[in-house]
């Protein structure tokens, strides 16, 4: 970010900047995703470490997009997805998990996840999927 921006620019920017909620039970993975997003110009509005926290944060922040891990304590990602989609049918959720079982993948997509990113991923892979999910 540069220092010589005017207030108007900033406001405009904020309007365009997509807000993302990151859900993963591994703190390293959360930080890694956060790094990818901030470097690509997204605003990270929250980092959730389990399913329950994920729903709370979603309710609070109404992010433009959420990346969602599946194998987590308290509540599995699939269940989180079901709840979020029931409450916010327009939500953009991208699964980011190392569950490669194709049936789980299909299930998530059917519930309403827009994309499914498989670990290990890199910045490009994540951002391509996110942009597709957001129709950017």
């Amino acid at each position: 970010m540069t220092d010589n921006r005017t207030g108007t620019d900033e406001a405009l920017n904020r309007e365009e900047t997509k807000r993302v909620l990151i859900v993963d039970d591994s703190s390293v993975m959360r930080k890694m995703l956060a790094k990818f997003f901030t470097e690509s110009g997204f605003e990270v509005v929250g980092l959730a470490a389990d399913g329950v926290e994920a729903i709370e944060m979603f309710d609070r922040h109404h992010p433009d997009v959420m990346t969602l891990d599946i194998i987590m304590p308290k509540m599995r990602g699939t269940e989180v997805l079901e709840k979020i989609m029931a409450r916010y049918p327009e939500a953009t959720v991208v699964m980011a998990s190392s569950v490669s079982d194709a049936r789980t993948v299909m299930k998530c997509l059917k519930i309403g996840a827009k994309q499914y990113i498989l670990k290990p991923y890199d910045q490009q892979k994540v951002m391509t999927a996110i942009r597709k999910a957001l129709d950017l």
Partner: protein
């Protein structure tokens, strides 16, 4: 939160901390699991930690922890599904503890920088153990696996008889092989299978499906390929829906949904998509009627007979075999041969895998996958080799089987000839391959007869020569590294080279010129030639002039060598050297192109490969010849013999020839268009009558890439 400033190196350090924490948690949870194996919360938590360990380790390219965690995660998943597993297999908790210790050790030794972390033998070994456990727990049904299972059952059936020969190595090899198979059996589709459903042949559609998947897996596809793939699947779905019965419907529906979902979401072709389509394919195949092509699976179908004939033994799959349970059983030699045949096929399959590995590498497949594949491949190649070696061992018998006949034989011959002979034998316990027995026995009988008849003098002659009245013949057998050395020595008169020369000249075998200039060494080789006997009259026993050349040509098929040491007046030694490790199953062969087609030619029949200018080829009495190493070598007209069209590079200024050695040491050259390489092949003799009369070929072989090629026979090409 200022995450943007976190560098990858810092994240890596955090990753290591997180792994250490997970290890501690896992330790505690494993203790809890041991105390209460039914605690599903603990089970899920262990699963989750392993899962997370897998995910983050892969992100940082710490492949060893990633793979290990992945395997243990699979194990936990099965336990999650079926709680009784832990009580049925109490060793699993210990296995998990061990895995956690390996994590601890690995992470402690991890370098600070981020790089690829490779598997060590300790990791591989552990992973293999987990695989074995996984295999015990989940038997996924799949066509190829079933085939492998049949093969393994076959192996199991003969296993007891292998025990009889105390071949612990083989038992281990079979067990190792089982393991390796389980690793790849799931994925390798086989071309020669035919798939039908409801009376309709779906083979082409399934093959299209498979080839599309293969492209994805090799990471070598274009947008157009994706389109073609989807179109092919669309076609398959459509034609299947028309005939599908109830049980196939869910799979079809799923495939259809998958197609829709793929198109809707514009998913990338990544491992998940590939897995989805692979999984569906597997499900589809389960519903299909599958037939396997005629070749090379023939003898597999005999397996029930084998099992039936074995008097007692192990019917459990190999996984469960425990050495202590195995009883000694006699098995017909034919069955051992059948088994040998199976091993031959395994070798071919292992070659196919090698080829695939190469192809994957060329295609630039995902490096992690390639590494896994390469590791598995290496194990398989190693196991198959061990199996091959062991089965050869099983076939070995002591050479005494032959030698014990000789005291009587020598006595009888000596008696008839009016000679006195003492026979000395040593090394009778040397092992020799069963298949060699007959040829070695015949050779020895020949040599010993000759020694008594021609070599040893009569007692009267010996007295004059100042020798012991009793002649002495010794047969010494020795194992020299990879060969068996058999030496037959007599203390008779040796060979009078003058007589040999004269005889050869009288019979027109050599020219006057040769007669005069021939060296002693050259004259000695005449002894091996057919039609020559130094005896004035042939006796009943020897001297019919079918002498040593027969011995030689019989032994040559085993890559044996015959040599002789002549001590005129003192005696003669004839040595046979027969390789034992040159296994009879595989042959090194040259792949070559003739008339645009690929052929194999076993290396053992090739003297030399030369490329000469076309200008050096001349016509001599209507035959093409060229001079090479002071020898005129005739060119075999392979094109008209095999009915081939001339190859392309007729205009080339040079021509490559393979110089072959025929049965009678004649040399001829075969012109080839291209030498494609060298490969280990298993020669499969023709079984169908139509092929039996195919001239100049000794059989078929399957190459690494699955192509079936003809194996040329140098003997018939030359003579």
């Amino acid at each position: 939160m200022n995450v943007i400033d976190v560098s990858l190196a810092e994240l890596f350090e955090q990753y290591k901390e997180e792994v250490k924490e997970s290890i501690e948690t896992l330790d505690a949870e494993l203790v809890a699991l041991e105390q209460d194996p039914g605690d599903s919360e603990v089970i899920f938590s262990i699963f989750r930690h392993l899962h997370s360990l897998k995910g983050s380790s892969r992100m940082f390219n710490v492949e060893n922890i990633g793979l290990l965690a992945h395997k243990l995660e699979d194990l936990m998943q099965l336990i999650d599904q079926d709680n009784s597993i832990l009580s049925r297999f109490p060793g699993i908790v210990e296995l998990l503890f061990e895995g956690n210790d390996i994590f601890r050790e690995t992470i402690a030794r991890l370098e600070t920088d981020i790089g690829f972390v490779h598997l060590t033998p300790a990791h591989t070994q552990f992973i293999e153990r987990v695989n074995r456990q996984l295999q015990l727990l989940s038997r996924k049904e799949n066509v190829l696996l079933e085939k492998v299972q049949v093969l393994l059952d076959e192996l199991t059936a003969v296993l007891p008889s292998l025990e009889e020969s105390e071949s612990a190595g083989l038992v281990r090899a079979v067990q190792d092989l089982t393991k390796s198979f389980s690793l790849w059996a799931m994925d390798s589709g086989r071309d020669e299978m035919r798939y039908s459903y409801g009376g309709n042949d779906f083979t082409p559609l399934i093959h299209n499906y498979e080839s599309g998947l293969a492209k994805f897996k090799a990471d070598k596809f274009t947008a157009e390929d994706v389109e073609v793939f989807l179109k092919n699947i669309g076609e398959l779905v459509q034609s299947l829906f028309e005939v599908a019965e109830e049980n196939l419907m869910p799979v079809l529906q799923e495939l259809n949904d998958g197609l829709d979902m793929y198109k809707q979401r514009d998913l990338d072709i990544d491992p998940v998509v590939i897995e989805f389509f692979s999984g569906i394919l597997m499900d589809l195949k389960e519903n299909f009627k599958v037939e396997v092509g005629q070749w090379p699976t023939g003898p597999l179908s005999h397996s029930p007979e084998i099992k039936g004939d074995v008097e007692a033994g192990v019917t459990e799959p190999v996984f469960g075999v425990q050495r202590s349970q195995v009883k000694t059983v006699r098995v017909d030699e034919k069955k051992i041969d059948l088994f040998l045949d199976s091993v031959g096929r395994l070798i071919t399959q292992s070659e196919i895998l090698q080829h695939l590995q190469f192809a994957f590498k060329q295609a630039g497949i995902n490096p992690a996958l390639l590494r896994d594949f390469t590791a598995v491949n290496r194990t398989i190649a190693h196991d198959v080799l061990a199996l091959q070696r062991s089965i050869m061992e099983v076939r070995q018998v002591e050479i005494d089987n032959i030698l014990k006949k000789f005291p009587r034989l020598v006595r009888d011959i000596a008696h008839e000839m009016g000679k006195k002979v003492e026979l000395v034998v040593s090394g009778e316990r040397t092992p020799i391959d069963k298949s060699l027995l007959d040829d070695v026995e015949n050779a020895l009988i020949h040599i010993v007869r000759n020694a008594i008849d021609h070599g040893l003098e009569t007692p009267a002659e010996r007295e004059v020569a100042g020798k012991d009245l009793r002649g002495r013949i010794s047969i010494e057998v020795e194992q020299e590294e990879a060969s068996v050395l058999i030496e037959v020595t007599d203390d008779g008169r040796g060979v009078d080279l003058k007589t040999v020369r004269k005889q050869a000249f009288n019979r027109g075998m050599i020219s006057k010129d040769q007669y005069e200039t021939m060296t002693d060494e050259e004259a000695e080789t005449l002894i091996f030639k057919s039609g020559l006997t130094t005896k004035a009259e042939a006796t009943d026993i020897s001297g019919r002039g079918v002498g040593l050349d027969v011995v030689m040509s019989n032994l040559r098929k085993w890559n044996g060598r015959v040599s002789l040491t002549n001590r005129p007046g003192q005696g003669l030694s004839i040595s046979l050297v027969i390789p034992i490790t040159n296994t009879l199953l595989t042959k090194e062969a040259i792949l070559l192109k003739l008339g645009g087609l690929t052929f194999c030619l076993p290396l053992e029949q090739i003297m030399e490969i030369v490329t000469i200018p076309v200008s050096r080829i001349h016509k001599h009495q209507g035959q093409a010849v060229f001079q090479h190493r002071n020898q005129v070598i005739g060119v075999v007209d392979t094109y008209s013999m095999l009915g081939l069209n001339l190859g392309k590079n007729e205009d080339s200024p040079n021509q490559t020839f393979i110089i072959l050695r025929g049965k009678r040491d004649t040399r001829k050259a075969v012109g080839v268009e291209e030498i494609l390489g060298q490969q280990k092949i298993v020669v499969k003799e023709f079984e169908l009558d139509a092929f039996r009369r195919l001239p100049y070929c000794q059989g078929l072989s399957m190459l690494g890439d699955g192509r079936v090629v003809l194996v040329l026979d140098a003997d018939s090409l030359v003579d």
